[in-house]
């Protein structure tokens, strides 16, 4: 018989389903044929990998930090522009926070 699960090369757990072969999100619904294949794959003795490895958790956390920090810098650039054009000082708390944001970006 055709092995319906043979196409599964990798399987990761997700919040409400599985990530198959790195690019297919499969809902946890046995009526979905891909989910049925995943359940067969598990029944054959395979185990889905956790959603994220430690390295991926660290990378995702850093990516979120980068994005948040960059967004803060973008949203406060006008202080710097105003200072350049009018000599009005950038508030010290903004200067401190911008420095922290720059430091946080890797």
């Amino acid at each position: 018989m055709e092995n319906q699960a043979a196409w599964i090369i990798s399987c990761k757990l997700q919040d409400s389903g599985y990530l198959i072969n790195g690019n297919m999100g499969v809902p946890n619904d046995p009526a979905n044929r891909d989910c049925a294949d995943v359940l067969q794959w598990i029944a054959e003795g395979n185990t889905p990998a956790p959603e994220f490895t430690d390295a991926e958790i660290a990378a995702n956390t850093q990516a979120e930090t980068n994005a948040t920090s960059q967004a803060y810098l973008d949203s406060t650039d006008w202080y710097v522009t105003r200072h350049a054009e009018t000599a009005e000082a950038v508030p010290s708390d903004v200067t401190t926070a911008r420095a922290a944001a720059r430091e946080a970006i890797v």
């Binding site: 319906q4 196409w7 409400s16 389903g17 690019n23 809902p27 979905n32 990516a63 994005a67």
Partner: protein, 382 residues
């Protein structure tokens, strides 16, 4: 045929006549009963996934919508494509082309293309009741040389089978196979597979060594499923097989093929598979409106073209800058999405990105493909 004759036939129908001959007469005058064909995309018009797949030999592979190639074991290979060859009135066909032959078929080899029907769409056959209907499968086929293959109905709900052989020549010919009614085993009225229509193009002795009884419903026995006269499609790299005009209808008469518009067929196919967005089809194809849930998390909710059979699987192509969000008079490209299947349904899906996007929480914007390789598909095939 005179108008008087036509009116006479219509009167007969009004009186409740339902004989196959009356149906044939009605077909002859163009009154064939809409939606008679249980097969979607029987004219092989719709091919959302592409037009050619190479190196096929195992697993289940879809190319032309609703029709799949499947198989197991062996070193053989074939190419499946949407071909422009067809009988008069058909612009497309499904073509199989052997690219790696094997003249020593192993016992466990099995290769076929097939069509799967939901149980809820088969209720008109009244299977499993004393008034079960016969059904007629018709299709046009053509090969590079004469061949004999097996067309089998496999009842997935009751594990029953009924097969018949058909012949292929080097010209387009219409094959008509009427299958006996089955008073045993009703199809479950649900959205799962009721029947597999299996066109066997290669089978080892595991499937051919028993007693193949043509046009007879019986509990499934693997050794009885395929005729021992079945040609091996893989006996030569010269082998080709084209098929189109697949129709399944109630009764013992094969009426004219029911042509439907491309738009109708596409919509019917989208219940099972749909391209959500494709950068190749439209360079800046829109996904929809997205919103920043946080400064680093974008969510996009997408209405599907039609409600799908079940909550779909979603495949997302990823690559540098494949997608882009325009908001607050600026843009932010990003590489991919994660499918939030828990928040999705059969008519709507939700995607998010929380790895390479930044912005202000609460901002909304247009989300688009930003690369010709960007592609998001939803699959709820049987």
């Amino acid at each position: 045929m005179s108008k008087a004759r036509n009116l006479s036939l219509l009167s007969t129908v009004e009186a409740g006549a339902t004989t196959d001959q009356t149906k044939a007469d009605l077909n002859a005058i163009g009154v064939s009963g809409g939606r008679k064909n249980l097969i979607i995309n029987g004219a092989m018009q719709v091919a959302q996934r592409g037009t050619s797949l190479t190196g096929l030999h195992n697993n289940t592979n879809y190319l032309i919508d609703r029709f799949s190639f499947g198989g197991a074991t062996s070193s053989v290979r074939l190419t499946m494509s949407q071909d422009s060859d067809g009988p008069a009135g058909f612009a497309n066909s499904l073509k199989l082309d052997c690219t790696t032959a094997d003249t020593s078929i192993a016992a466990g080899d099995e290769h076929y293309f097939q069509y799967r029907v939901e149980g809820q769409d088969l209720q008109r056959l009244k299977k499993g009741t004393s008034s079960a209907e016969s059904m007629t499968l018709s299709f046009y086929v053509k090969g590079n040389a004469a061949a004999t293959y097996t067309a089998e109905f496999y009842d997935a709900d009751n594990n029953r089978q009924n097969g018949q052989t058909f012949n292929v020549t080097t010209s387009w010919n219409r094959v008509t196979l009427t299958y006996a009614p089955d008073t045993t085993g009703a199809y479950t009225d649900d959205n799962t597979i009721g029947v597999y229509i299996v066109f066997w193009i290669n089978a080892g002795s595991n499937h051919t060594s028993g007693t193949f009884t043509s046009n007879t419903w019986a509990a499934s026995v693997t050794a009885n499923r395929v005729s021992s006269s079945n040609t091996s499609f893989f006996d030569s790299t010269a082998r080709t097989l084209n098929i189109t005009g697949v129709q399944l209808e109630v009764g013992s008469t094969a009426t004219d093929f029911e042509h439907r518009s491309y738009g109708e067929e596409l919509a019917l196919c989208q219940r099972y598979f749909q391209k959500v967005a494709s950068g190749a089809d439209t360079a800046a194809s829109t996904l929809g409106i997205g919103a920043m849930y946080t400064s680093a998390q974008l969510h996009v909710v997408i209405d599907l073209a039609v409600t799908m059979r079940v909550k779909p699987s979603v495949t997302i192509a990823s690559g540098s800058g494949y997608y882009i969000m325009y908001r607050a008079a600026s843009s932010d490209s990003h590489d991919d999405y994660i499918y939030d299947s828990g928040s999705s349904a059969s008519n709507r899906i939700e995607l998010y990105n929380n790895t390479d996007i930044g912005g202000s929480a609460g901002h909304a914007g247009m989300v688009r493909c930003n690369n010709t390789n960007a592609l998001i598909t939803a699959d709820a095939e049987l």
